[in-house]
């Protein structure tokens, strides 16, 4: 990386394009990916499922962690009920076996949901990099609309293919409403 480019990375976070509709954004995101950019992100007021495919996002770690959390919760719940009923406080309830499996299923189920749900929420926040008190994209004034009605795409200067002038002209070819440089 040249000195100049390095300087750019330090002062410029990226180039941002603003789009009027989700359709434009999805089409643009696909072209950006096909152009070979890796470090870019899209910002929308609500989830757009087509973006996953357009940006080729395949990060399913939250599902995996949730599955693991759920399994651990289920095993934990069942073990807890079995330990309480057979070791800590064995009680003969109507002649049923001490480990009375059907009765333990609700507890097992609830623990599965509880731990699975907590794992999902916490791992989602952590993997998203939250909490995040500062993000450069907010340096662009118009970006407040990203949580209301506008759709944004930002190519980051850290991308290997990033070049200030070429990236601007590339984004212009995608027919955005406006293009802005994002300061760090």
């Amino acid at each position: 990386m040249s000195v100049q480019a390095l300087e750019t990375v330090h002062t410029l976070y990226g180039i941002m394009a603003e789009f009027e509709t989700p359709g434009h954004l999805v089409a643009a995101a696909r072209k950006v990916r096909l152009a070979g950019f890796k470090k870019f992100d899209a910002y929308t007021p609500y989830p757009i499922h087509e973006l996953d495919e357009a940006m080729d996002l395949h990060d399913n770690r939250v599902s995996l962690y949730t599955l693991i959390g759920g399994c651990l919760g289920g095993i934990g719940g069942f073990s807890l009920a079995s330990w309480v009923q057979s070791v800590a406080l064995p009680l003969n309830i109507g002649g049923r076996p001490l480990i009375s499996v059907p009765m333990f299923i609700p507890v097992t189920f609830e623990c599965t949901i509880l731990i699975g749900g907590l794992t999902a929420a916490i791992s989602m926040l952590l993997l998203n990099g939250l909490p995040l008190p500062y993000h450069p994209v907010f340096n662009v004034d118009r970006f407040v609309d990203a949580s209301r009605s506008k759709f944004f795409l930002c190519i980051e200067s850290a991308d290997a293919k990033f070049d200030r002038d070429n990236t601007v002209s590339f984004l212009e070819s995608l027919n955005p409403v406006e293009i802005a440089e994002v300061a760090r």
Binding site: G23, V26, A27, R96, S100, P102, M103, I105, P106
Partner: protein, 403 residues
Amino acid sequence: MTTTEQSYTTPPQLTESLKKYQNTSAFVGLVFLGLLVAGYFMAGEQQFLRSYLAGFFMWFGAGAGCLALLMTQYLTGGAWGVMIRRLLEAGAKTLYVMWFGFLPLLLGAQQIYWWTTPAGLADKRIHEKVLYLNVEFLWIRWVIYGVIWLGLTYLLNKWSALEDETKSTDYSKKLESLSAPGVIAFFFTMTFASVDYLMVLEPHWFSTIYGFLTIIGEGLTAFCLINIVMALLAKHEPFNHLITDKHRHDLGKLTLAFVMLWAYLNFSQLLITWSANLPDEVVWYIKRWNGGWGSVATLLWVFQFFVPFGLLLSQTNKKSPAKIAGISAFILVVRALDYCFLVEPNFTDARNVQFNAHWLDIIAPIGFGGLWLALFFRNLSQTRLLPIGAPDFQKALNHGRDH
């Protein structure tokens, strides 16, 4: 995407394929129903009726499940309902024939339903329920069920065809306003039917969740069949580019929901029985807890819940036509085992439980399956396969495509 109306008519090649499926199914159905009739003479009337009931009720339930889902999708809306509407209509229309399938059970009632025999009717606790459990009313109920199920099927099919022709939203509104009371009527009648034909096999036993359990099972059967047919259609023009992964994904998710509901309701029934531990209620489970039937119960839990649940969690499995069809076919096989499990153990003694499954229990579901599929494909080949008159038809087609 702009496509003319012309492209939604079934191309001759596809009609040809549907005819081929119809003929193959009819052949298999006839052969196996023939074997079932041979079983009548070889194994006796009671065994014949037991296997008949298990096999017949599964496939009657496939049609009934289609009818219930047909009404449900008018009420909920959504792309999934529009895409499978014609399949559900074709499935519901099988009831025109399947309804008559209850006749052998009614005629041979004394062989299979103990309460209809003089000894049963003289039983003190049956006698207390004589207002409901009497043979005349059993026949009257069969007629009432027929009027409601066939009437709903007839009107839903008629108005839907008119909706296509006229493109008038009047019919869409009519379909919706019939479906709301229709679903309620369906739940009542099917609950009673499940009591009449399945639950009373164990005459003193009762479970208030049984009707729901039957209906959810029927919905599951219907969804599995729909998944398979959607995968078949996706091999043909023009469906190979009309059906998207997103459509399949939605149907797969609904199938998963029904798998979970089936398990949830079944477990609720077990949990309530287990906690109460009353002699009347446990008898049903005593026959299904140990020995051969106990193993079947385990198989059902593993293969009708845990395995399909695990497989259907994955998006890839739901979106791939081959995989979702494979999983659905697998569930259907287990459904047949489930119906056998509901019927056969009732005929063993609670004090000396025998594994009394019979080879006819394998013949019957295949025979009725062939018959049902032949009727279904015949109905399909006679109609346009997509409801072009539905108000949200284009929206449903574009589901899962870029805006």
